[in-house]
């Protein structure tokens, strides 16, 4: 469908070459920060200050320093646990909700949809204060749900990524034609079977696109991690750990860039994996 709706370009336009050069230059500029991050992570200690955009002696020293001495690996695992739990749960819950909101007719559906939209606008950052006390209280009843534990972080990130995930998934679920459901019903398939055996595989690309956003949300979260895991060093997540490495008196930029690289790679992989579904998912979500 992509090629059909392309603007016609049968005639050669003289401006195109200029546009293409501009496009490449801008692409290079946009890529500079990321390139510099990776480059600096691989530069040997003595070269970190040099403006040369290459290095002839790439080394893993910075990575080793970060991974060995500062327990980065542990924080990486913590972040991965939180993010993957959020992704799995968010896929399941947003799929169920999106199905209910698009496929079922019931009273109060419109109200729920509007509330879903409103929920996206809530400045969840302001909720740190009540959530801090709620988690503190929960912890005195169930220790695993208390402060300095990873479980509350999963739940909080899950809750805050759900409204957008459901909203986005709605478009994908709605795109499955109603005739399919009627046909399935005529064939005697129950609604449950239709949902899981027909709808679920068809919506899978949408689920993947949704999951990447939930993943990023959880992986990037700094504020809630900082608030809820404030004293237990072992349960810190990556963004917090990055803060710890940044010591103004002895700035180890090589190490910080190595840490930033390690933090960016999983998201980048996720992104490349789902990028083809992302644009369609977002335009669907944005326009509702």
């Amino acid at each position: 469908m992509a090629t059909v709706s392309r603007p016609v370009r049968k005639r050669r336009r003289p401006g195109r070459l200029i546009a293409e050069i501009a496009c490449c230059v801008i692409a290079a500029l946009v890529a500079v920060p990321l390139y510099w991050m990776v480059l600096s992570a691989f530069k040997p200690a003595g070269e970190i200050q040099s403006p040369a955009p290459w290095t002839f002696a790439p080394s893993f020293d910075s990575f080793e320093r970060v991974l060995d001495s500062q327990g980065f690996g542990r924080y990486f695992v913590n972040s991965a646990i939180v993010a993957l739990c959020v992704v799995a749960l968010s896929m399941l819950l947003s799929f169920l909700s999106a199905v209910a909101l698009t496929r079922f007719r019931f009273k109060g559906r419109t109200v729920l949809l509007v509330m879903l939209l409103v929920a996206q606008m809530v400045p969840v950052e302001a909720l740190t204060i009540p959530l801090f006390f709620m988690v503190q209280q929960a912890g005195s009843a169930v220790p695993a749900l208390g402060l300095n534990e990873l479980a509350p972080l999963v739940l909080v990130n899950l809750a805050f990524s759900l409204p957008f995930a459901i909203w986005m998934l709605r478009g994908f679920v709605a795109a499955v034609p109603a005739e399919l459901e009627e046909a399935a019903a005529l064939d005697g398939a129950s609604r449950l079977r239709f949902t899981w055996q027909v709808l679920f595989p068809l919506v899978a690309p949408g689920l993947v696109a949704t999951s990447v956003l939930a993943f990023i949300h959880a992986w990037n979260d700094f504020l809630f991690a900082q608030t809820l895991i404030f004293s237990d060093v072992d349960n810190r997540t990556l963004p917090q750990a990055m803060r710890v490495f940044y010591k103004p008196e002895e700035l180890d930029w090589g190490g910080i860039m190595a840490g930033a690289t390690l933090m960016t790679i999983p998201v980048l992989i996720f992104f490349i994996f789902v990028q083809r579904h992302l644009a369609s998912g977002l335009s669907g979500a944005v326009k509702g």
Binding site: P33, S97, M242, A260, T264, V286
Partner: protein, 314 residues
């Protein structure tokens, strides 16, 4: 970028309403399907929101939080203290201005590049998209440090190139805000670009062909044919960006080290956090949170209105 499932064309046609198939049991089934997400959102969003308002009405500092002193209901005193504080107003103004710069910046850059992307062949376009995707994917924390490093006074490549070693970009209030805004625009324009690009690609070729057959130049086609069609999408991208950029926390917190020298670079979110968790004035922090929520809710109302005007139906 092939779109596999296009949930909706950008001409804002609402997906064909699904025919109600099995009406009777819908209500109960829907309740069951919605239950897990509903419980979670009620417990972790609605209830804390209610609590936030409550806390803002109490004298709630360190002694109260630890239980050493009883809670005292003080009504709107926190708000009165807040509105009488010059710093609050200055933080509010900087939040609005900062968000405005970020929103306008990412919209201009994003839309401009989306239009550019439709004019070039596949290879330059893929390069641009790849770079943009990279910027988009970079976690806020990593991005903040990368930009800090690029602009570092002594080790930064930017100062090295400009020959300004020792110049601190985060010392001056405006240049610190500018640096953070640049980072924010860098990682948020890709969203606008992808959205607008998908929108432009979905405009039927005939419309553009007709305009060009009529002798319209590319600029005229862009401003008078494509932009009006994209307007609803643009409005929505704008509001989405306002909501995101109004709530920036990580970048400001990291790049200006908790709000800048003497709090010169505070925005509302960081201000709330500092008041509550650094200053242990939870009641006051909660009041700031409530003000912020109300502001964002006002934007939401505008959002819903525009959605409805452009023919949106839930």
């Amino acid at each position: 970028m092939t779109t596999q499932i296009a949930p909706a064309a950008p001409e804002l046609e609402v997906p064909a309403p699904q025919r109600p198939v099995r009406k009777k049991r819908d209500g109960r089934a829907a309740a069951l399907y919605l239950l897990p997400a509903g419980v979670l959102l009620l417990a972790l969003m609605a209830y804390p929101l209610y609590q936030l308002v409550q806390i803002s009405l109490y004298e709630y500092n360190q002694p109260q939080a630890s239980g050493a002193e009883p809670l005292v209901f003080i009504g709107l005193d926190n708000y009165i203290e807040l509105f009488g504080d010059d710093q609050f107003w200055s933080v509010l103004v900087s939040t609005v201005l900062f968000a405005a710069v970020c929103v306008i910046g990412s919209l201009l850059v994003g839309t401009g590049l989306a239009i550019l992307a439709t004019r070039v062949r596949t290879v330059p376009r893929m390069l641009l998209f790849l770079a943009a995707l990279g910027a988009w994917a970079t976690p806020a924390m990593a991005g903040s440090y990368i930009w800090l490093f690029l602009f570092d006074a002594d080790f930064g490549v930017v100062n090295e190139i400009l020959g300004m070693q020792g110049h601190s970009w985060t010392f001056d209030r405006l240049s610190a805000f500018g640096l953070v805004a640049a980072e924010v625009i860098w990682c948020s324009f890709p969203f606008v670009m992808m959205t607008m690009y998908a929108g432009i690609r979905n405009i039927s070729a005939e419309v553009i062909e007709a305009a060009q057959l009529d002798g319209a130049t590319w600029t005229r086609t862009a401003t008078q044919v494509i932009l009006p069609i994209l307007k609803p999408l643009l409005v929505i991208a704008t509001i989405q960006s306002i909501i995101w950029d109004f709530k920036i926390f990580t970048q400001i917190y990291v790049m200006t080290n908790g709000g800048g020298i003497a709090g010169q670079n505070l925005v509302l979110n960081v201000y709330t956090y500092q008041k509550a968790f650094a200053g242990e004035e939870y009641g006051l922090g909660a009041a700031i949170g409530v003000v912020m929520t109300i502001l964002l809710m006002l934007i939401t109302v505008v959002y819903l209105r525009t959605q409805r005007r452009s023919g949106w139906q839930p």
